[in-house]
Symmetry: C2
Subunit: 442 residues, 2 copies
């Protein structure tokens, strides 16, 4: 794999070290004790949605497929594990030839989910599957958290475009994944060049306060920008005095001025004033972009303001209060051997201390009403009821180790928009609430 | 650079795309308009600490140095920028030979900081410096947020070791940086093999509930684990019934049992019961490790419990409520040309809408009392007062583009412990409060 394939501008020789130490020690003990080959089913799910949230958004599935395909223990990695005595020689030998050759089913990326939804189901030998816990959860927990925040912001923004500009507020590579997840959730563009390079998301941007400040005057700065980037550029108007800057902007760029950006202050008030001023100056087509500490609530509060686009940073890349989706990866069933005919036995943690789960290999379906609106997330372990057979949510992603469900990001983005549109109307209320449809176990 | 140098298991051919689109368009306009060569000073600082926090922790500096050194626009990157028409040909030509050749000063990594502290100061031409905004902020904002949470947890844990185990709750590469930052803040070990590989942080782990569940009985699981990992291993005792599991653990491993891990339930209550049971069974040296949804408050509440080590995941890697440090990168001074004799003119955003800052190239010093305890963060733009000349905080990190201040992570970790120890005692109170020392401008 090279940079263009796997997360740019980063070349990932292997994803096998995105693994917790205990996965390898479990493998060692299982290899020695004889349980390593037992046919196993692991599932990814979340026990609850983040407090107040009405739905979750599956994001990162495409990245999971890349990570699984690339999960290889090459010589460098084996050398490290040997030197640090993480596991014994027989285990290292086993790891050397590791290739995931099981099956993965999952909710298609962009789909919504609810408490208990079996978002991903990984099937294979215990040894094969147990190693994938950390890398799968890292990706899904991060990306789904960002996509959920993005989806709420996109609902609040309605038809207005959303610019992702949070790279500076999160880890430099988390930022690339965050741009991707934001796009899935409904964002339009990103400031992050790495996200443009890796995922083809359109990138945008013109200037910061530093550009104005490095010049002797705001007029010099605007002139330099317009000379170089054209009259259609976006001028940042809040370095000194907003009204004076707007006047200057139209003076320098003329009525063809593309847009002004406001990055501080009372955006509602300032946007109204700036719109009036732009119109009076004849720049009736100049757009207004606002970018200061926005979240879904601030975006919603600007619905009636003359704003043409929103740029969102911090609150997007930190999941707007919920930076992780708290998904878990649990063994839910296993057979006594590798024999495909050996029956799967449901298993689950049972101690009284909490964190219990429901054993068994699950299917999931979304029941809808006569208008196609979701009514319930139905989850079961037996046969799928006939009336739900065409509403099943899990699709095959990996078959015998081979990825069979790659898809363009735009398909994922459209799927999310459709899934959200089919939820009850209260799904997109920003106020705190419960999951918008119940989870039913049959 | 190869994987071993730069963030493993990931090879980063270049960090130049960890950049916002607008940095390149500003560059283009500055190159055309003539301001690109102006000698400039950018500073990284934060306007406030996260709400309720009493000090911040500088982390990520070492990673920043790697990123700056590796900030190169190679053919792939130039090709992408050309194809997407991000900037014009003259700008692409300029980027092709980009190497940062300015100076960087900063707080040494591990040091504490306060509102206004000039954590990093980047000096060079406007064009050279303006490009580094995003990558510098991404690293410092992420790593410092994690280190601050880690530092509070380390205070709460006292002498007891802390295990970082949050990889599954954050982006897979953010996790590696989070392990590093946690180690700086006072954590002892990590579960993340990639962090062990890249930074030499000791990795630990033994087994999860899945290991118990894949076996026909808890006894089989414990026996398999002890057979493979030895009697000194840590057995997870909360899959079914904790008391029965503790009994089994000692039966299988004998009184030499290394430790038991409790991952759910009322940890205070359960730890006391388990300690008593272990002692009664003769396993008086078996340790108790707790790992369920801990944060600094939960750790503090267990201070009187018979707990030997804490494992922390979600709350660590999400900054315990504050996943980003909200640092900004601002132009604070610039000359009229590249001439080193041209005077630096302080600059700052001035609009009434907020986000204002203080112009001028700054020094910082920490004033201490007669016992060496910090009294104030003193920041100025003129001459350093004689009484503070040996208390200055900024050190040279990069000189003429050459990194001059690499240091081992253990040095950074010790520096943080010393810096925290020299704060007033109220610094490590977990209750919400103001910055523990005031910031004074002179």
């Amino acid at each position: 794999m090279n940079a263009a394939d796997l997360g740019l501008p980063v070349d990932v020789p292997s994803t096998a070290l995105f693994t917790d130490h205990y996965e390898l020690t479990m493998l060692q003990a299982a290899l020695k004790g004889g349980s390593a080959d037992r046919r196993s089913v692991f599932e990814v799910f979340t026990r609850r949605l983040p407090e107040g949230r009405r739905y979750g958004v599956v994001a990162g599935t495409g990245r999971v497929l890349d990570a699984v395909e690339n999960f290889r223990f090459d010589a460098d990695v084996i050398g490290f594990l040997r030197e640090q005595r993480v596991v014994d020689e027989p285990t290292l030998q086993w790891l050397t030839s590791y290739r995931f050759d099981g099956d993965i089913w999952g909710y298609p990326e962009g789909e919504v989910y609810f408490p208990g939804s079996p978002i991903l189901r990984v099937e294979g030998s215990f040894a094969q599957c147990v190693l994938l816990e950390t890398v799968i959860l890292s990706i899904l927990n991060h990306d789904s958290a960002i996509a959920a925040a993005a989806s709420r912001m996109a609902s609040a923004a309605g038809e207005r475009p959303l610019i992702e500009m949070g790279a500076r507020r999160t880890h430099e590579l988390a930022a690339v994944a965050a741009s991707r997840a934001a796009y899935v959730g409904g964002f339009t563009t990103t400031s992050d060049l790495a996200a443009g390079f890796r995922y083809g998301i359109p990138t945008v941007g013109t200037s910061a306060h530093a550009f104005t400040l490095v010049h002797d005057s705001e007029r010099d700065a605007f002139r330099a920008q317009v000379d170089s980037l054209g009259r259609g550029t976006t001028l940042l108007v809040d370095t000194y005095d907003v009204a004076e800057a707007v006047r200057l902007a139209v003076e320098v760029a003329g009525p063809e001025l593309g847009a002004v950006r406001i990055d501080s202050g009372d955006l509602l008030l300032v946007a109204h004033r700036v719109r009036q001023q732009l119109d009076e100056l004849g720049a009736t087509k100049a757009r207004i972009i606002v970018t200061s500490d926005l979240d879904e609530y601030a975006i919603a509060s600007l619905a009636a303001a003359p704003v043409d686009a929103y740029g969102v940073g911090t609150q997007l890349v930190t999941g707007s209060g919920h930076p992780t989706a708290s998904m878990v990866y649990k063994l839910v069933a296993r057979a006594e051997s590798a024999d495909p005919k050996a029956p799967l036995v449901p298993v689950a943690k049972k101690s009284s201390g909490g964190k219990t789960s429901i054993g068994g290999r699950k299917w999931a379906a979304r029941r809808v009403d006569e208008y196609g609106t979701a009514e319930a997330e139905v989850i079961g372990t037996g046969a799928v009821p006939a009336e739900l057979s065409d509403r099943q949510l899990l699709v095959r992603l990996v078959e015998g180790g081979r990825v069979v469900a790659r898809e363009p990001l735009d398909v994922v983005r459209e799927r999310h928009a459709a899934a959200r549109a089919n939820l009850p109307l209260s799904a997109t209320q920003l106020s705190r609430g419960e999951a918008v449809i119940p989870t039913e176990y049959v």
